[in-house]
Symmetry: C2
Subunit: 254 residues, 2 copies
DNA sequence: CTAGATTTGTTCGTATGTATC
DNA sequence: TGATACATACGAACAAATCTA
């Protein structure tokens, strides 16, 4: 009962009321993804408002990623799981004026990746192990071009994303994927002219191979320990890299 | 005159294009919170579209928490930092069909709270310490009513929220606040008829007092260690509590 | 305190494109 | 192929909020 309505003496927008009503209705009826919301006409009658207002409310739900709106017969708003990409984008907006630095990202990563590895150990399937080995294979050859180097870094990150998706803890999984996304952006945008860091790649490759062994042996505590060392190593190399970049772009920081 | 070569394969909605354009424009111009976006009329001219379409785009930005829209002279859309509550709400939507369990929440909390405490140690101010002590004071008296008991649990959580706000790592801070919000909901909704757990409250009180001492002494590693023990203790009591509740509601789970 | 100016907010009517049957 | 149902988009008119003189 303790709603925002207590805080807002001012007029609450009609469409926002509808959004809240629909959300409550979905939660109360335990609606599942794929079920359809009433169409525009029914909603207009239900809430005694115009087409445009209903449309604005549906638009709001769509922006939040809660529904997708299909056109055509039997179209309309259908309930959806919020896709990761949408949630990720919205959290990025939150961080827009407070961009996390490289070291901050790596600090968080060092905290959570070991736990993700441990939780994923009993849940990983044979197919997952095959996928992980395929990703490792991508990183075996020595990269010729800058693009190949970036592709390898992304394959390394995908290794961690797959583990995050399998860890079984929705929040931990989200954070893991989000953090790896942030690092991917660092790799792609900020450091497209990044030095080779051959040592770094080799260390990662070795850790990933050992991690696969630990996963296959279902040895969670070894996976945790390996991942922790891996992250400490990555943190170290990143610090080194940022130091080098700082040398190059003295005064051009932002 | 239906020339297919003129048809653009994109089915991206006009308003979404406008949203993306505005976002790019904001990022490129390094716009700060408080600055105003062009008003509806100018945007209509800029993007050669109708008022309704512009409004839909602005609404989208508002739902994402990126702008607030005021009416009247000098009104319009002004750039905002996304408030925590908005980002939190959107992440909750993401988790709606994958509700984290109590143990999952506490597992994440155990990972991050010690680091938050350590990072906050050098950054906490005298005023913050006063606030923390005030929160501890709330938990000293023995609660008479259920409501008092809940208020004390919330004061305990606010202790952690304040630390999270001061830890200086935006992502860690967000996760800390989010996790404590989730626990607050557990306290308020699921366990309003929760048993007294006197031992739990006393343990928390003791830990919080010791934490304040460590913070005052600027002893980050002790703060980290204390918080870790605190979280392990809380995790244990929560497991005990969930066991009790499970006894009561056998078969009534969902 | 009132009146007017400015800007957003809401609604109606209409037209068009598109997906499904 | 055509009919239908729905979203998308436009424009005009009016309502409401808010600032300023």
């Amino acid at each position: 009962m303790n709603d925002k309505s207590l805080q807002i003496p001012k007029r609450i927008k009609r469409s926002d009321q509808i959004v809240e009503s629909v959300k409550r209705w979905v939660a109360l009826n335990r609606m599942e993804p794929g079920e359809r919301l009433p169409n525009e006409r029914e909603l207009m009658q239900q809430f005694e408002c115009s087409k445009g207002t209903v449309r604005e409310a549906l638009k709001s739900l769509e922006v939040q990623g809660l529904v997708t709106i299909r056109t055509g017969p039997n179209g309309g708003a259908v309930l959806e799981r919020v896709p990761f990409e949408k949630a990720s984008e919205l959290l990025r907006n939150y961080l827009h004026f407070d961009q996390p630095s490289g070291p901050e990202i790596y600090a968080l990563r060092t905290l959570i990746e070991p736990e993700i590895a441990a939780l994923a150990t009993p849940r990983i399937t044979e197919e997952d192990l095959d996928s992980l080995e395929a990703l490792v294979k991508c990183c075996e050859m020595t990269p010729e071009t800058l693009e190949e180097r970036i592709d390898q870094r992304i394959a390394e990150l995908d290794f961690h994303v797959l583990l995050a998706q399998r860890c079984g803890n929705a929040m931990l999984s989200f954070i893991g994927r989000f953090v790896n996304d942030m690092i991917r952006d660092l790799v792609i945008f900020k450091k497209s002219a990044l030095p080779e860091q051959r040592e770094f790649s080799c260390a990662n490759l070795a850790y990933h191979r050992q991690l696969i062994d630990a996963l296959r042996a279902r040895d969670a505590s070894r996976a945790r320990q390996l991942m922790h060392e891996h992250m400490k190593s990555a943190e170290h190399f990143n610090r080194e890299l940022e130091g080098q970049l700082h040398q190059h772009f003295l005064g051009a920081t932002r």
